[in-house]
């Protein structure tokens, strides 16, 4: 009897601690969301989406160029990082013990820990210095390098989770190793790989530092890859540091929009996973 009581009390205390820990973890998230939504949503208006920034100090205007800029930047990053990252990941999964693989794996892990500002410097040296011009491409390159390790490692991990029986089944039907990989193993892992890619994309969509001296920012409309380009993060940074109330308002709106873009990417990731998983798992 008393033992049972003791057990119940201990269990209740443990549960209490768990609940507190969860709350502590959720409070910052909830507060960020609350402020961003509260300040950002009310600051949004049609002009924010459709108009260009006004000259310094003037009220009104919007961030049309920065919204498009951010979309262009993450598109460049995805185009560069996803094919290369997936191919590396496939190699790592197919030849897990080769010398080359262990080098690639190590490189990816190191790259993962490199501060984003350093990656920005790298892109500056590679893509800005030679042509002596900041550009959307350089910004996209920096973001691509940032997301590359995530793509490589998730691809590898997920491919290795595919049951060996599937490969044997394909080979037994006369598939070559290559066709087994591309027709059975990769499709089986695709839902997970896709989530990994979208999550990585969402992460880099919120980066500011690596864009400072690559994409640089642009007060004017530009969709050229070879010209400096505006981005939401940089615009928010700039406006939040300004002395004008209307710019503060727009910074909140920009932050809100950023959060929404990232949220959308995550939700797409979830949904596409669920659809593919229905095909994939029992």
């Amino acid at each position: 009897m008393s033992k049972a009581w003791r057990r119940k009390i201990i269990s209740a205390i443990a549960e209490g601690f768990c609940a507190i820990a969860v709350l502590l973890a959720l409070i910052p998230l909830a507060m960020i969301l609350f402020y961003v939504v509260k300040q950002g949503f009310t600051s949004l208006n049609w002009a924010f989406f459709t108009q260009m920034p006004k000259p310094v100090g003037e009220a009104g205007g919007g961030m049309a160029n920065a919204i498009v800029g951010t979309l262009i930047l993450i598109a460049i990053a995805a185009l560069l990082a996803v094919p290369i990252g997936c191919i590396c990941g496939i190699h790592l999964a197919e030849y897990p013990t080769s010398k080359f693989s262990s080098i690639v794996r190590f490189a990816a892990d190191v790259l993962n820990g490199v501060p984003s500002i350093v990656v920005g410097m790298f892109a500056y040296i590679i893509a800005v210095l030679p042509v002596k011009r900041f550009s959307a491409f350089a910004g996209g390159l920096a973001l691509a390098v940032l997301m590359l390790p995530t793509v490589v490692r998730t691809t590898e991990e997920l491919l290795r989770l595919v049951p060996a029986g599937l490969r044997e089944g394909a080979l037994a039907l006369g598939a070559t190793r290559t066709s087994a990989v591309f027709t059975v193993i990769v499709p089986a892992a695709l839902p997970g790989i896709l989530t990994g890619v979208l999550v990585a994309l969402a992460r880099v969509a919120g980066e500011t530092a690596p864009l400072l001296f690559t994409a640089f920012g642009n007060r004017f409309w530009s969709i050229s890859l070879r010209q400096p380009i505006a981005s939401l993060t940089q615009q928010v940074y700039l406006y939040a540091n300004s002395a004008y109330d209307d710019w503060h308002r727009q910074a909140w709106a920009g932050a809100f929009l950023l959060v929404m873009i990232i949220l959308t990417l995550s939700i797409i990731a979830r949904l596409s996973v669920r659809r593919l998983e229905r095909m994939n798992r029992p």
Binding site: L166, G169, L171, L173, G174, V184
Partner: protein, 274 residues
């Protein structure tokens, strides 16, 4: 006048020539076949002939090399690092371990069904069509025909004909295994290798697979590994008993179960084996 004893001698004298006759229509001939995983030798000088369009069962205690042997027949062991084969296996007289063998076309002629059913994460239709598609077949009508024919042969058509586009994972375990059989049949093999195809199934699903094997042997040479003595007795024409990587005895299934020559075989099939 021939006495009964004379008759028996007469029959016994005939027996080798009957065996010789059988070896003439051997589909698969194995001669002095050794197999190594690294330095460990797990098959020792296997020699046997597997007759065309019959069911040959491989039995023996766990770890005796049945899977290794059956996987040698379609060179599935090639994918294992450091594995090595010695000796010859020929199918229709052509040595499959010779350097000019095309492994891909070998595996299309020698289908395989695994112990754990392994449908691809694709629709039922795409599972069956897989082998043909990687072989380059694109014609939709032709594909439809083969899918239907293979599913009918695997006795699965009636159960799935209305949901060919559903995921193969929506099927039950027994259905999945028959799907894997249908998938193997779709590329029109001559030999079908089955490594414990029913060991993960309930008795009803097992019966279905056994009936299926019975039907299939009209068209296919079937080699099946099983731990289930009754199953070997029910479905096979010939039985090979393996132990510790050696072929102990190989004969008509009836002989192996009723009148084995070797003491070891008798102990094993009667369950007295330790």
């Amino acid at each position: 006048m021939l006495t009964a004893i004379d008759m028996e001698r007469f029959n016994a004298a005939l027996a080798p020539s009957a065996a010789a006759l059988e070896s003439m229509n051997a589909k698969i001939s194995v001669r002095d076949f050794d197999f190594f995983y690294g330095s460990a030798k797990v098959l020792h000088g296997i020699t046997l002939d597997i007759p065309d369009r019959q069911v040959t069962a491989l039995i023996g205690p766990s770890g005796c090399g049945k899977s290794t042997f059956i996987r040698s027949i379609n060179r599935m062991n090639d994918i294992i690092p450091n594995a090595r084969a010695k000796g010859t296996i020929s199918i229709d007289g052509r040595a499959i371990y010779s350097s000019d063998t095309d492994v891909v076309s070998l595996r299309r002629r020698v289908g395989m069904v695994f112990q754990r059913s392994n449908p691809f994460p694709k629709s039922i239709y795409d599972n069956i069509a897989y082998g043909l598609r990687i072989g380059g077949m694109r014609n939709r009508r032709e594909l439809n025909n083969v899918v239907e024919r293979s599913l009918i042969r695997a006795a699965l058509w009636d159960e799935v004909k209305d949901r060919l586009n559903e995921s193969a994972f929506a099927l039950s375990g027994g259905q999945q295994q028959r799907l894997c059989i249908a998938r193997a049949l779709a590329v029109d093999p001559e030999v079908l290798l089955m490594d414990e195809p029913a060991s993960a199934l309930d008795p009803i699903a097992t019966t279905k697979i056994e009936e299926l094997i019975w039907d299939l042997k009209v068209n296919y040479t079937i080699v099946i590994v099983t731990h289930n003595m009754q199953q070997a007795a029910r479905v096979s024409d010939r039985t090979a008993f393996f132990m510790l990587g050696r072929l102990v005895e190989y004969a008509d299934t009836k002989t192996i179960f009723m009148n084995p020559k070797e003491k070891m075989t008798e102990d094993y099939v009667t369950g007295r084996f330790g």
